[in-house]
Subunit: 210 residues, 2 copies
DNA sequence: AAGTCAATAACCCTTTTGGGTTATATCAAA
DNA sequence: TTTGATATAACCCAAAAGGGTTATTGACTT
């Protein structure tokens, strides 16, 4: 039996999915929610094998949910099930640990199939998504890992020393806006979203001295 | 010859100090400014041996000045010369690298003497200040170095993982205010003033995993 | 029993961050 | 020579962060 939980704010759709799962052999629906507010607690209680997760949900998005659940239960498989086919959400989800990414425009049976795949250790993706991922992978492997510019490294190291943007700008004799620009670019390259995380990653990966 | 620079926004006082220094044997006044806006550049040009630094100055405080100058020229001695005798400024300055701390209520000749002392590798302090430092030192050495509580360490490690205060609060099931409290306490204990710096220090000193 | 510490929480307030967008000059590489 | 990367800069705007103060609770120590 594969234990499955659903996070989907569109009630019509979630009921459809629930029905589909309950009527599929070897599948067991252990939870169905319309947002991620209690995602961690739910997960702790139910210990699903696979989670089907929408992204755009009220209060707490599916991205936050993935991040949180994966931090605690890396072995639980999470399939994103969403209308978003843009790069932003896609890479954010994958970097947070999503195991599959199925678009809603695919058939429901594709989702069922994806659940089996992911439970077997696969990485089910809609073809369009799979292509994007491959492309990005190629791009990334050619620009070997975190390719920060000299200036970005410099700014980052000041950040780790406790300088504020303003202090860095005075320090380097450039505008605060430019400091902000460098930092924003750095965050993108490191796939992080705030200073503390960037500094942690930079130190651990040797980008700045430890 | 000891080359000396002054940062003091009270013109009356800075002129007095300047005169005093110029008329002292073996002393040479190489700069006299009313704030730290160009402190680093001034220092680069003049290479003073000793800097006499007020704290409360317009635009950029002496504390920022100390931090910046010491980051680049750790060998230059800086004496704080201020009316503040409270703990806040004192420890902040010392942690930023100040080498001496003389109160303005001491005589000017005491300052002259302090300049000689600091240039010889000493750490001139007003008696009252010296006591405070000793007290704090005792307190600190009994509570050996960074004694974070379990909870504080936990919160800090979430911070390094890129969680916002709000996410941490949900994670640990406590209020955002409490998260804030733990972080504020942590900053005090680590002698830092922002997240990135705290994370850097924590990783480098092994408080959180690297 | 009094005192300290840890954890919790709330309130005030300002500054800083960080996301998005757009634009410029420069320099090197294709 | 056109493209691409880099460094620079500005703007808008919401959210997050951080500093100060105060208080309550429970646990452990004098």
């Amino acid at each position: 039996m594969i234990k499955i939980a659903i996070y989907e704010d569109n009630i019509r759709l979630s009921q459809l999915l629930a029905l589909l799962i309950e009527t599929t052999e070897d599948f067991e629906l252990v939870g169905c929610y319309e947002n991620c507010v209690n995602a961690l607690q739910n997960t702790r209680n139910e210990r699903p094998h696979v989670i089907v997760m929408d992204i755009d949900m009220p209060q707490r998005s599916g991205i936050e949910g993935v991040f949180e659940i994966k931090s605690h239960f890396p072995e639980i498989k999470i399939i994103m099930h969403t209308v978003f086919d843009g790069n932003e959400h896609l890479f954010e989800c994958l970097s947070k640990g999503a195991d599959g990414y199925i678009l809603k425009k695919d058939s429901s049976t594709r989702l069922i199939q994806a659940i089996k795949e992911v439970n077997d250790g696969g990485a089910p993706m809609s073809p369009f998504i799979a292509n994007k991922v491959l492309q990005s992978f190629r791009k990334q492997s050619t620009q070997d890992e975190y390719k920060l510019t000299e200036r970005e490294r410099e700014v980052l190291s000041y950040l780790a020393k406790g300088f504020s943007y303003r202090m860095i700008s005075i320090e380097l004799n450039i505008s605060v806006e430019t400091v902000r620009r460098h930092i924003k670019n750095t965050y993108q390259k490191l796939h992080v979203q705030c200073g503390p995380e960037a500094v942690a990653k930079a130190i651990r990966s040797g980008i700045i001295a430890s």
